[in-house]
């Protein structure tokens, strides 16, 4: 590949979300992957981002406190009566 056409690391980190989202044009995607193949730092960076995303997916929503749930159900009954 023409070296002038190669991505820098700076460009790669800027494109990574588009890469994950499948939003890169074919040629750009090829340049992205070509850079990854030869740059272990960027491979590591991309790997870390994937791990970041999967860690985000492990954050749990707080469970709804009992009294809040009961209050909402009471509201629901009131709504139904007026319904």
């Amino acid at each position: 590949m023409n070296p002038l056409n190669e991505l820098t690391c700076l460009e790669l980190v800027d494109l990574v979300t588009e890469y994950f989202e499948g939003a890169l044009a074919v040629a750009q995607r090829a340049r992205f992957e070509a850079h990854l193949e030869q740059c272990r730092h960027c491979r590591r960076y991309v790997e870390q981002l994937r791990r970041t995303i999967s860690t985000l997916g492990e954050l749990k929503a707080e469970e709804i406190p009992r009294h809040v749930r009961d209050e909402l159900l009471k509201t629901f009954r009131g709504w139904k009566r007026r319904g």
Partner: protein, 224 residues
């Protein structure tokens, strides 16, 4: 009335109850349908409200109001979006209104908007100034130490991620909450938050980059 609604088939109470049957149940005034919806979405709704509203108790209030809005709007809901998208859009609208009021009372000038979303650079200046190859990493990207299976480490990493999310500007926080914490796709996230596809992606990019940075700092401090 009550008898009819309680006679719904047991299958309808499985956790994966489809939106369609949930909607039917709600319109029938079926309390278990509502309870199911609350179990399913309340936590995520609070999480989303917290993206906009700083005071946790206020965010809770926002969500309670949103539930009222859901009940009031149910009859007019036409199903042009999914039930979930519609519910979360109600949360966003209430949260924004409340956040504006909150910002005025705390005299924040710029509660949200592009300026707040884009103020800080994503990388330290000088991160990509390799002397022999400009635009390449100046310093090697460091490994993140031990395996994700390490339970204590994982709990701490989770806490670091949570803190990093809390520090994000509101709309970035809303986007990463729906996309990566709740696992929504891009289209539904755009729909719920009223963002274009491109804008959503830019905000997601900035948010993820920042959260990765926070994890990097965590591992750096920890694993040196």
């Amino acid at each position: 009335m009550l008898q009819v609604s309680q006679a719904a088939p047991p299958a309808a109470f499985e956790p994966d109850t489809g939106e369609h049957s949930l909607l039917e149940m709600l319109r029938d005034g079926n309390e278990q349908g509502f309870a199911l919806l609350v179990e399913k979405y309340h936590g995520a709704m609070v999480r989303l409200a917290r993206a906009y509203v700083r005071e946790p108790a206020l965010a809770e209030e926002v969500v309670q109001e949103a539930w009222l809005g859901v009940l009031r709007g149910l009859a007019g809901f036409e199903g042009r979006s999914s039930l979930r998208t519609w519910v979360f859009r109600i949360v966003v609208n209430r949260a924004r209104t409340t956040a504006r009021r909150e910002a005025r009372s705390l005299s924040f000038t710029d509660a949200f908007g592009d300026a707040a979303e884009n103020r800080e650079p994503l990388f330290d200046p000088g991160s990509f100034q390799h002397p022999l190859a400009p635009g390449h990493w100046t310093e090697p990207v460091k490994a993140w130490g031990r395996s994700p299976e390490d339970q204590v480490l994982e709990a701490e990493a989770l806490a670091a991620v949570e803190t990093a999310v809390e520090a994000l500007p509101p709309v970035q926080r809303a986007v990463i909450t729906l996309r990566d914490i709740e696992g929504w796709d891009a289209a539904e996230t755009c729909n719920a938050l009223g963002l274009s596809e491109v804008h959503q992606r830019v905000l997601l990019h900035r948010a993820r980059t920042r959260v990765r940075r926070a994890l990097e700092r965590y591992f750096d401090r920890d694993g040196a």
